[in-house]
Symmetry: C2
Subunit: 231 residues, 2 copies
DNA sequence: TTCATGGTTCGATCCTAGTCGAAGCATTCG
DNA sequence: CGAATGCTTCGACTAGGATCGAACCATGAA
């Protein structure tokens, strides 16, 4: 009894609605200010501030000062992963939010997961890269093959700079919607940025949804040799 | 804002210390009665009962009546996975329980994860089976190869009966201690039972720790072609 | 300097949710 | 049929934590 790490503290942190909203909002990967988060969570700035302090103390959040603003982000990818996993379980148990709007469908198709692409399209890209031999799966880790390196460079990604960053280049992350794996890590976020740059996709303001243009989606499907278009 | 599944409800369920203790206790995979769980959680039977009700309402727990006893187990492997993931995050954030006894080391080496083997040895077995070509990894799924089927049958596992059970035969599960993958699913639990039967290992009463005998561990390492013995 | 904006800290309030005692069912055993 | 055990329900109590108003810092602009 009472073995292992303390799960209750973590749970209670996520368990408060206001904090859960804050964390969910930060899953978009954007750095948000305290006031923005307060609005998002539906509480006053004071309360949000106290929540943010608690989340920081538990090292779930990171704070960056910039001028007179303070930007908050999730501490790292691990926090995002756990949140996704919990969303998966919650979704499966039917603990869905009451209000499921039309946005929900868009969310399932393509959304930002902290800093990379998730949703059906994210999964499809991952599958495509594996079947093309660009990604190699070993154990729980994923790695880029030689072919994959060539592919990435040709696609306009500067691998050298990715290597320099400390965080792992390839990482797999589990979707809450499709319960399949998609690509995270610095390569995952680099790919997403590339999609933005190429004009294939754009963020929907104030949401995790990523919207692909018709031509952008076509290019994407072709580029990653995705057979069955994600319906 | 307020997109996606409701994480707060799930979090608050896990967030209460008593409930967290109950869930952690059930991670051992054993079916426990309400009174046992109350003792484990350090509360009276009445309170435990109310907690159990809530956990059941959220479909995190399953109840089996047997005579005048009511046995509780985790609803399924998914719940266990999320709990392990949360333990991983909590451990990394240094949110460890104050009391970390000598048991902790044993826990890291080999423990029961719901119904299969986790810890360093669990990971080693998984790695060994992959490198021997018994397990094939595709996407996030793992499957048994033909060679693997032969191996399992030869090891004394009745695959036919495993197939009949509805739950997937192979599944990967993430360790909170080593943060690597080990084998779950019906095959995972069948393997663990086989270890018990062969007298290689035994459960330490009232704990998740699995203790291997010296000869049992040797046999294990040999059987699964594990190179570097988990230190 | 003064003013304005963004955040935090303090204090008081309020309310939910955990807790247990006691009583109420259900099941099994003698 | 009692009697005993295992568990749930009910009711009352309490504490902890979320919440916000107000005051208090810090930074940047005029």
């Amino acid at each position: 009894m009472k073995e292992g790490p303390d799960i209750a503290l973590l749970g209670s942190l996520i368990g408060d609605p206001a904090r859960a909203n804050i964390l969910t909002a930060l899953m978009s990967g954007k750095a948000l200010t305290a006031t923005e988060l307060a609005l998002e969570a539906g509480v006053t700035v004071q309360t949000a501030s106290s929540h943010l302090k608690k989340l920081q103390d538990a090292h779930l959040l990171r704070q960056r000062k910039q001028g007179r603003h303070r930007y908050f982000t999730l501490a790292d990818d691990d926090v995002g992963s756990v949140l996704e996993a919990m969303m998966g379980l919650a979704a499966k148990r039917g603990l869905l939010r009451t209000r499921t709007g039309p946005r929900d469908e868009a969310l399932r198709k393509a959304r930002v997961c902290y800093n990379h692409l998730a949703g059906d399209l994210g999964v499809a890209i991952y599958d495509g890269m594996v079947s093309q031999g660009y990604l190699a799966e070993a154990d729980d880790d994923v790695s880029l093959t030689r072919d994959g390196e060539d592919f990435a460079e040709a696609f306009g990604i500067d691998l050298a700079s990715l290597v320099k960053s400390r965080r792992p280049m390839c990482k797999s992350c589990l979707d809450w919607s499709s319960r399949r794996t998609h690509l995270a890590g610095s390569l995952g976020s680099a790919l997403l940025n590339r999609f933005y740059k190429l004009g294939w996709a754009a963020r929907v303001e104030g949401s995790r949804v990523v919207e692909f243009s018709a031509s952008g989606e076509r290019s994407l499907l072709a580029k990653f040799a995705i057979k069955a278009p994600a319906s």
